[in-house]
């Protein structure tokens, strides 16, 4: 493990596949950070695979309460035909947990794409044009940002669907509710970057050459201002899952007959706990926790690895480490630590 080859490798341009976002991060990582990144990637991968292959993995449909042998028993303990038991309504818990991953992915994708789209446009326009438009948008964004996000989502859920609806209606309602929560975040980031970039010489020269404002915004500023977005995306995806589950828990999710939703199932499981029935709540809850942990680990690792001050070094002088939040430390302390991470 000598230090020279590393430096040489970095100064040379790597092949394209080594420069892909996650792969390049993986190669940069070391020790505890690599452990965190890998754990996060594995959990996120499992989540995505479950979502994609839900029809193949789940033994039953999410709203199926009977098969050829008759109705499913209600509140059956885990084991046998129903791997994780059944709910009071006779739904198969395992199938609903698996289908729930699909709902979660759909909502995240729709929500994050919409909030990026709207947030980026508003941020660009607001930052570039400035003036009273900028001032109003900033005050509104700050007001919404300071407010409890779950309440914003609840208000939006009322506005959109009056509460509940079909699969796509429900997904759209949940996604739009989450979008409204996230727009201020994207707006702030993009606006700040736009204002910084507006003063750069290349924007000035574009103006001199006679480029239109729209061209400057879409070409010159947009490309530079959106570099931090993948990071916010991963961090927000986990928050989106929590907001969706919160909405579902309050009964603002998606009807159980139109899709499976973890938060909704947890709400229904609440009444079961007093009689000691644990499997209806524990499994959807674990699914939420594992998914959020996975996404958070990926997001945080990428954040740390993007920042040279936080990045763990392959070889650090013992006892001398930078002010980082992710551990670096000496080689000796890394081995047990990363083992701890992956075992969790």
């Amino acid at each position: 493990m000598s230090i020279e080859p590393t430096i040489a490798a970095e100064s040379r341009r790597d092949p394209w596949f080594r420069r892909l976002p996650v792969i390049s991060h993986f190669n940069k990582s070391v020790g505890l950070q690599r452990g965190m990144l890998v754990t996060g990637l594995v959990l996120t991968g499992l989540f995505l695979l479950t979502a994609i292959f839900a029809p193949l993995i789940a033994p039953f449909g999410f709203s199926q309460i009977s098969d050829a042998e008759g109705n499913f028993p209600a509140q059956q303990a885990p084991g046998g035909k129903h791997l994780l038991g059944t709910t009071v309504g006779g739904y198969d818990v395992f199938s609903r947990v698996v289908w729930g991953a699909q709902t979660a992915v759909l909502v995240i994708i729709v929500a994050v794409i919409m909030s990026i789209f709207i947030g980026v446009i508003l941020g660009l326009v607001s930052g570039y044009i400035g003036g009273w438009l900028d001032r109003i948008l900033v005050v509104v964004a700050d007001a919404v940002y300071a407010f409890p996000s779950l309440l914003v989502a609840i208000v939006m859920a009322i506005v959109i669907s009056g509460g509940r609806s079909s699969l796509w209606g429900g997904i759209l309602a949940a996604a739009i509710s989450i979008t409204v929560v996230f727009i201020p975040q994207y707006f702030r980031v993009i606006r700040a970057e736009t204002i910084r970039l507006k003063a750069e010489p290349f924007v000035e020269s574009a103006k001199v050459v006679g480029a239109s404002n729209i061209r400057i915004m879409t070409r010159h500023i947009y490309r530079n201002a959106t570099r931090t977005l993948p990071l916010i995306f991963t961090l927000n995806a986990s928050e989106a899952i929590l907001t969706l589950a919160g909405l579902g828990f309050l009964g603002f999710g998606i009807e159980p007959t139109s899709a499976a939703e973890w938060g909704f199932d947890l709400n229904k499981a609440l009444a079961d706990t007093t009689s000691g029935i644990w499997w209806t709540g524990v499994f959807p809850g674990l699914a939420i926790v594992l998914t959020v942990v996975g996404l958070t680990l990926v997001g945080e690792s990428i954040n740390d690895l993007n920042d040279p001050r936080l990045r763990g070094r392959r070889k650090a002088a013992p006892g001398k480490t930078g002010p980082d939040t992710a551990g670096s430390g000496t080689a000796g302390s890394q081995a047990p630590v990363s083992a701890e991470v992956s075992s969790s």
């Binding site: 505890l32 005050v139 509104v140 700050d142 007001a143 919404v144 300071a146 407010f147 409890p148 996000s149 779950l150 309440l151 609840i154 208000v155 939006m156 009322i158 506005v159 009056g162 509460g163 986990s238 929590l242 589950a245 919160g246 828990f249 309050l250 009964g251 603002f252 938060g263 947890l266 709400n267 499981a269 609440l270 706990t273 007093t274 000691g276 644990w278 709540g281 524990v282 809850g285 939420i288 926790v289 959020v292 942990v293 958070t296 680990l297 480490t321 002010p323 939040t325 551990g327 670096s328 430390g329 302390s333 047990p336 630590v337 701890e340 991470v341 969790s344």
Partner: protein
């Protein structure tokens, strides 16, 4: 509330006359500007909530639509004035808000302001309990993590912090309920107190609605014990959500200050490691914690809605969920507006406290 807001300027003006000249801006001016900023924030939220809730139609149709014949429905809408132009209603609503009149709930027909004060006390109690748990868990563990940096203890604590963040409060509540209330039977399953205790406390003259305060005042120790037993699980469920954030914050900041020269100087004079972490490195790390605490109030209020539903804790959040199911949007609007005011005021107080502690914060 007013004393809290108005006290700092006069106090600070008396204390820091010389500093004011040096820094140019001045604390009094900062507080004034910051105070004035509360109003647009509240105004915007009230306006947004009002118009958003009205896009879907009037509250009476939402609450009773389908259950009443159309003529009766129209009659009630007319009686309540919901058939007038939206802007007339909006300005009337604003006028009512200023005088503290939030309207009357549709589902149980009681003044919204009375509902807010009754259930607000319960939510306040839950939030204080949870904040205590968060601070008691988060700060010491954060110090340990900073002290044992990159060791096994640190890694375990960081995973704990991520788990705290990743676990939705209602799932944490469900697990706690299952373990401590159902399986072990140590603590009650739900509610704020036994019915007998609640009756004893409401018999009190001018009850505050904050149960542990009321039971202390009545000197009823059995009631206090009962209230405490009921408070533990909800407080832990909601507190852990924030504890993880405090833990990480303390860890990062203590690590930052532990590397400073004055800590090194303390160490060379033979100050114990324990004292270095808990006194020398910890004090400067407090400032960001106070700022984040303000931001956490919003998170906590959101969490309180879910915690209260989980534990049937009869507070604003529990009522919010009930009114939502009943489609009583007048009540929902009242709760949302109150929470907006609370968030705006706490953010203001936190900013002022941060400015009093650290002069660099003021503009």
């Amino acid at each position: 509330m007013t004393t809290l807001i108005e006290a700092p300027p006069s106090d600070a003006d008396g204390l820091l006359p010389t500093k004011k000249k040096a820094s140019g801006g001045g604390l009094g001016q900062y507080i004034l500007i910051r105070f004035l900023l509360i109003f647009p924030t509240i105004f915007i939220l009230v306006t947004l909530v009002f118009f958003l809730m009205r896009i879907t139609g009037d509250p009476i149709t939402a609450a009773l639509g389908g259950r009443l014949p159309p003529e009766q429905l129209a009659e009630r809408i007319h009686a309540a004035g919901y058939d007038r132009p939206i802007f007339v209603q909006y300005f009337e609503y604003l006028g009512q808000l200023i005088t503290g009149n939030f309207g009357t709930t549709l589902s149980d027909n009681r003044p919204v302001s009375e509902m807010l004060t009754t259930y607000g006390a319960a939510t306040l109690e839950l939030s204080i309990n949870a904040l205590l748990v968060a601070l008691l868990v988060g700060i010491p563990l954060g110090m340990i993590a900073a002290h044992r940096r990159d060791k096994a203890a640190d890694a375990v604590l960081r995973i704990f912090a991520i788990l705290c963040y990743a676990t939705p409060v209602f799932f944490a509540g469900l697990l706690l309920k299952l373990t401590f209330a159902v399986w072990l039977g140590w603590l009650p399953v739900a509610g704020r107190a036994k019915t007998s205790t609640e009756l004893a406390l409401t018999a009190l003259q001018a009850p505050t609605g904050i149960y542990w305060l009321d039971s202390l005042r009545s000197g009823n120790m059995a009631a206090l014990g009962d209230v405490f037993a009921h408070a533990v699980l909800p407080a832990v469920a909601l507190g852990l959500l924030t504890a993880g954030i405090f833990l990480r914050l303390v860890r990062t900041n203590v690590i930052g200050t532990l590397g400073k020269d004055y800590v090194e100087a303390g160490r060379s004079r033979g100050v114990s490691e324990f004292r270095l972490v808990t006194k020398h490195a910890y004090k400067p790390a407090l400032i960001p914690i106070i700022t984040v605490m303000g931001l956490q109030i919003a998170v906590m209020l959101g969490g309180a809605v879910l915690t209260e539903t989980t534990f049937e804790w009869k507070g604003l959040g529990f009522q919010l969920a009930t009114y939502l199911t009943a489609r009583d949007f007048v009540a929902v609007q009242g709760i949302v507006v109150l929470l907006a005011v609370i968030v705006a005021v706490t953010n203001f107080i936190v900013d002022i406290v941060a400015a009093l502690i650290d002069p660099r914060v003021r503009y």
